[in-house]
């Protein structure tokens, strides 16, 4: 073959190969779950037959994107597409079909579509278009507001559709913003928020505040390179706050029952830590860092107080249940915990090499729910064992790392930002989904990219990946 006549030789065949492997592996696993007495994988009256149709549709779409549609098209259409999907989300809210307690499907004839899946593409495109403008920097407030609005609008609409899982995916975009210059503090604070949330629910708001304060003090003093003083103040404050409620007989927040002899310790500790904290307050607001730190501290206290309200009043029963089961507050193998238990039994029983294709008892006997969609990883874990599960993890890691590395190298910032968006979307889906099936994450119904049954998700992820392959391919030709 003449190399010069095949310009697509330089396409990223690694990504394409990983895609193909995941998609085909997903398809045979869906077949394994659902086959029953039927042994014709091309039976189009069955879900696995339909899934093959979706694979073909995705493949044709990918070929179109790579070979027909020019790369510049995507940057040009990004805002229109973004607006279009926002309209679709609004339409879904108005006309959508309810399924599993959420209202996220739109029906066109017998064809059902999940706009939330496509909002990831358009949001990525719009984000890339916005941030790749010449001279764009995340340091200016109008820009920050623009980015925030761009992300929050689809998030709000999806939240209204009660698709909590799809909203979580947007967390991935924070990483993109971090890559593009957002302060790492925001990610750190994000992490703190989750930590405080969990602590508030599984222990008490008071303990959450004490832990928060301890972290704050440590970070604050360490940043000022006062390591010894920082450690001392932190320890003393913790001791004081742990024992004081009991000494002062405030039973409602008392977490630790001190011995009577600890009273003097509590008093000394509080005196010393109050001394140092007062010294800090006297220095306040000379530097931006300190001012911001105190704002964060105040917000943290407000946050912890509002978490209880949010958890008790705002969250819906099934969501609260999922959080409770995940945090181990409720042991409920027949209810919400049933999914998780059966899922882990299925994966755990796979052992090292698995039970073999179509031999998984747990998944094919119907013990695991939603096994062809959200719990497809169970079938892989059971029938292909640790090897199969590692293979899938490796494929995902390959795709994600490769996209990130190639995006980082791209000369065009649109390509780079879009690439990061694609990688993070896939990464968040994989981590949440697999994490859920092995009990590391709460049970949140989002699909496993390229593997789960479901046309919308497969098509959406394929389109995303194909656009990136095309953008990156053209980028290298510049």
């Amino acid at each position: 073959m003449n190399r010069r006549r095949n310009p697509y030789r330089n396409l990223d065949w690694t990504l394409i190969g990983c895609w193909l492997a995941l998609v085909l592996f997903g398809w045979i696993n869906i077949f394994s779950v659902l086959h029953g007495e039927n042994h014709n994988i091309f039976d189009f009256s069955q879900k696995y037959g339909m899934h093959f149709v979706w694979i073909c549709i995705s493949l044709v779409t990918a070929v179109l994107i790579i070979r027909v549609i020019p790369a510049a098209f995507w940057q040009g259409i990004s805002w229109i597409a973004y607006a279009g999907v926002i309209l679709l989300l609004l339409a879904t809210l108005a006309l959508g079909v309810s399924s599993h307690g959420s209202q996220a499907w739109i029906s066109i004839g017998s064809f059902r579509l999940q706009p939330a899946e496509f909002s990831k593409i358009t949001t990525s495109l719009a984000l890339a278009a916005l941030m790749s403008k010449y001279g764009f920097t995340l340091k200016s407030m109008p820009n920050i507001l623009k980015v925030a609005g761009l992300l929050l609008l689809p998030m709000a609409l999806i939240l209204l559709e009660k698709e909590t899982g799809s909203v979580l995916v947007y967390v991935g975009f924070l990483v993109v913003l971090f890559r593009e210059g957002m302060s790492g503090w925001i990610l750190a604070i994000g992490f703190l928020i989750v930590l405080e949330f969990i602590l508030t629910i599984i222990t008490s708001p008071y303990i959450a505040m004490v832990v928060g304060l301890a972290i704050f003090l440590l970070v604050f003093f360490f940043k000022k390179e006062e390591y010894i003083l920082g450690g001392l103040v932190t320890v003393l404050t913790c001791v004081a706050l742990a024992f004081l409620p009991k000494v002062l007989e405030i039973e409602s927040v008392a977490a630790v029952n001190p011995l009577p002899a600890h009273a003097w310790l509590a008093i000394v500790a509080s005196a010393v830590s109050v001394f140092f904290i007062l010294r800090l307050i006297i220095r306040y607001p000379r530097k931006t860092f300190e001012r911001n730190a105190f704002i964060v501290l105040l917000c943290g206290i407000l946050f912890v107080l509002s978490v209880q309200f949010f958890y008790n009043k705002v969250l819906q029963d099934h969501q609260r249940n999922r959080i409770d089961v995940f945090l181990g507050l409720v042991d409920d193998p027949k209810g919400v915990g049933y999914n998780l238990h059966q899922s882990m039994v299925a994966i755990g029983s796979g052992g090292f090499a698995g039970k073999g294709f179509m031999k998984g008892t747990q998944t094919s006997l119907g013990y695991v729910p939603e096994q062809e969609t959200d719990f497809i990883f169970c079938t892989i874990g059971e029938e292909w064992g640790y090897l199969g599960a590692l293979f899938i993890l490796a494929l995902y890691m390959a795709i994600i790392f490769r996209i990130i590395i190639m995006a980082d190298k791209a000369k065009d910032s649109f390509t780079r930002i879009f690439g990061y968006c694609v990688a993070m979307c896939i990464a968040v889906h994989v981590v949440i989904n697999i994490g859920m099936t092995i009990g590391l994450m709460p049970v949140i119904g989002i699909p496993l990219p390229f593997l789960s049954y479901g046309g919308s998700a497969l098509l959406a992820f394929t389109v995303m990946l194909a656009i990136f392959i095309k953008l990156e391919f053209d980028d290298r030709k510049i």
Partner: protein, 611 residues
């Protein structure tokens, strides 16, 4: 470190955590694999045979025959000849089609499980199937037992056995769907002894749900323990004879051995025919739509006014209270009249003493008796005297559950002071207002079991054992409730007077119970004619025999049968005759034929029953 590398590092750590977690649950921890094994083991239940029910002489009332349930494992069914299946089991093709449509629709739920295809198949059909079983892969037969009834001992006495429903399982956690349990009668009362213990065989199956073998070579299996037989106090022949007498009549007959409290017969008519009992589900609709309500066990559930039989209670109370003596005489001018109150009576000699009053069943006499009891000066007011009267009445067991082992026993009703305070207003009623109690009318409700027990109390001259249907043995001694004598508040010395009256009723001049004379038996009886607002009077009779050392006490309650002497007395006396003499004397054959052919159903008002 560049931001790209920071991101990659964090992602790598997260993926590593997942890989370690997978390693932990897939390779290190064993509990998940064990759980999966549990999913893969199959328990096949072995159903025990139910215990037999025997009568007092060891004759079988209920036994078992083997039937088969045909099960289907839909996933293992291959193409088969539907017509052949239909021919073997006598089904139509639509039945088979519907079944398989159902399996298909629920295939996810059924999985590799088995579903009942046809229940209680006879052994003939099973044999026909077994010869050709190889033609029907996926079909399977489990042996079960079904009940057989060699004598017609009445469906309400025996009770029926049927598959437990969800309600039953909730109340009895030991039962599983597909189990059978006694729902009424003896089957219910002694379910725990009759049912035995289920066993199971454990198999393991491969991914396709196919049985691969016997798990641990049978070490994990449990044998079924057959239910134990129970010996009842019932006389099966007498029970069956009573059923023929009660044919086409609505009412009850209860016979008790006075010296033990053992129930000899317990007939509720119309009852569930024993031919329908084994397949109760098949006939359930027909039975429940029968206007005479065969499901209703009248012997313990039908509380009705006892009529003149109750005069004996008032007589006993009067004697104990000292306001009545053998020679106390009251006049009767075809009834009792006081102001506006008039209680009618039939024509008979007057004045009469106590035994005569029983023999002739004089209404006026007992109006006087009740008034002397209630207007006794030793009580401050009517409420106090009435409460005392009520205490006497309930001491005979009336107005409360006797505590027999007949399921669903009702307590009946004896009015209270409150009843009349509500009816007439507090302080606005007196003995005359409630005069109908004297002759067993008014607000009284007694079940036939109450009456039979009362009759046994008189036969015993003042005490009774709580009636029961079960015989004690070494393994299961009688419940202490059935071995303790109960003494009503009337002393034993007063009973012979009542017995004398009952004997006179059968043999004396003007006695109302002459029809109950049985050759060779010294009979004591008392008729009753209970008025009721729903048609003809109810015919009531209690009797016991022989007069000395009584062997049997009977109460018969025939709804809308007219005078006590018309139907109840002949039926009760025939029961006594059959029991004591073994056969009916030629002189009474005519009476027996009249009773057997008697058709009273058209006299019984049929109300549309509410669902």
């Amino acid at each position: 470190m560049s931001r790209r590398n920071k991101i990659l590092l964090v992602l790598f750590v997260i993926f590593a955590v997942m890989a370690v977690r997978l390693f932990s649950i897939q390779i290190i921890q064993k509990k998940y694999r064990e759980s999966a094994d549990n999913n893969a083991l199959k328990y096949v239940t072995i159903y025990p045979a139910r215990g037999r029910i025997l009568d007092r002489y060891g004759n079988t009332i209920v036994e078992n025959k083997i039937t088969y349930d045909i099960m289907v494992t839909p996933r293992q069914v291959e193409e088969f000849d539907t017509l052949a299946i239909c021919r073997i089991f006598g089904l139509d093709q639509d039945f088979v089609r519907e079944k398989f449509d159902y399996y298909k629709a629920n295939s996810r739920k059924i999985g590799f499980g088995s579903m009942p295809f046809l229940k209680q198949v006879s052994s003939e059909q099973f044999n026909a199937y077994a010869e050709r079983a190889f033609l029907f892969p996926g079909f399977d037969a489990i042996a079960r037992t079904a009940r057989v009834y060699p004598v017609n001992a009445g469906g309400n006495l025996i009770g029926y056995v049927s598959e437990v429903d969800r309600d039953y399982i909730e109340k009895h956690p030991d039962y599983r769907s597909g189990d059978y349990a006694g729902k009424t009668g003896l089957e219910r009362a002694y379910e725990s002894r009759l049912s035995g213990e289920k066993g199971y065989t454990v198999y393991y199956r491969d991914a396709n749900g196919r049985i691969k073998g016997h798990y641990e070579d049978g070490a994990a299996d449990k044998d079924a323990v057959a239910g134990s037989d129970i010996t009842t106090t019932i006389d099966a022949q007498l029970q069956a004879y009573g059923e023929t007498l009660m044919r086409n009549k609505v009412g009850s007959v209860v016979a008790i051995e006075p010296s033990t409290g053992e129930i000899l017969t317990l007939i509720s008519s119309p009852g569930i025919d024993v031919s329908q009992l084994a397949e109760i589900n098949k006939y359930y609709k027909e039975i429940s739509e029968n206007p005479y309500n065969p499901m209703f066990n009248r012997t313990v559930q039908s509380a009705q006014p006892p009529g003149s039989v109750f005069k004996l209670v008032n007589g006993l109370i009067g004697l104990q209270e000292g306001v009545l003596h053998r020679e106390t005489r009251y006049p009767c001018a075809r009834g009792y009249t006081n102001g506006k109150v008039h209680v009618g009576c039939h024509g008979h000699a007057s004045p009469i003493n106590l035994p005569q009053s029983i023999a002739m069943s004089c209404n006026a006499y007992y109006c006087y008796v009740l008034r002397t009891i209630l207007d006794n000066k030793k009580y401050a007011n009517i409420e106090e005297s009435f409460n005392k009267w009520r205490e006497y009445v309930t001491s005979f067991g009336f107005g409360q559950k006797l505590g027999s082992d007949v399921p669903y026993e009702l307590g009946g009703n004896v009015p209270t002071v409150n009843t009349y305070n509500k009816l007439h207003g507090k302080g606005r009623w007196k003995s005359l207002s409630i005069i109908s109690l004297s002759i067993g009318q008014g607000e009284l409700g007694c079940t036939p079991l109450h009456l039979a027990n009362f009759c046994a109390t008189i036969a015993n001259r003042g005490w009774f054992y709580t009636p029961h249907m079960i015989k004690g043995d070494e393994e299961h001694p009688l419940d202490s409730a059935y071995t303790v004598k109960n003494y009503p508040m009337v002393e034993e010395k007063y009973f012979p007077l009542i017995v004398e009256g009952m004997n006179m009723s059968v043999y004396g001049d003007g006695g109302t119970s002459h029809v109950a004379q049985v050759p060779g038996v010294n009979m004591c009886g008392k008729t009753g004619t209970a008025q009721n607002p729903h048609g003809d009077d109810h015919s009531v009779f209690i009797c016991f025999a022989p007069k000395d050392n009584p062997k049997i006490a009977v109460a018969a309650y025939i709804e809308n049968g007219g005078f006590g002497a018309t139907w109840a007395a002949p039926i009760a006396s025939l029961i006594v005759e059959k029991y004591l003499n073994g056969e009916i004397a030629d002189s009474r054959k005519e009476l027996e034929t009249r009773v057997k052919n008697g058709y009273l159903l058209n006299k019984v008002p049929v109300r549309k029953r509410k669902r």
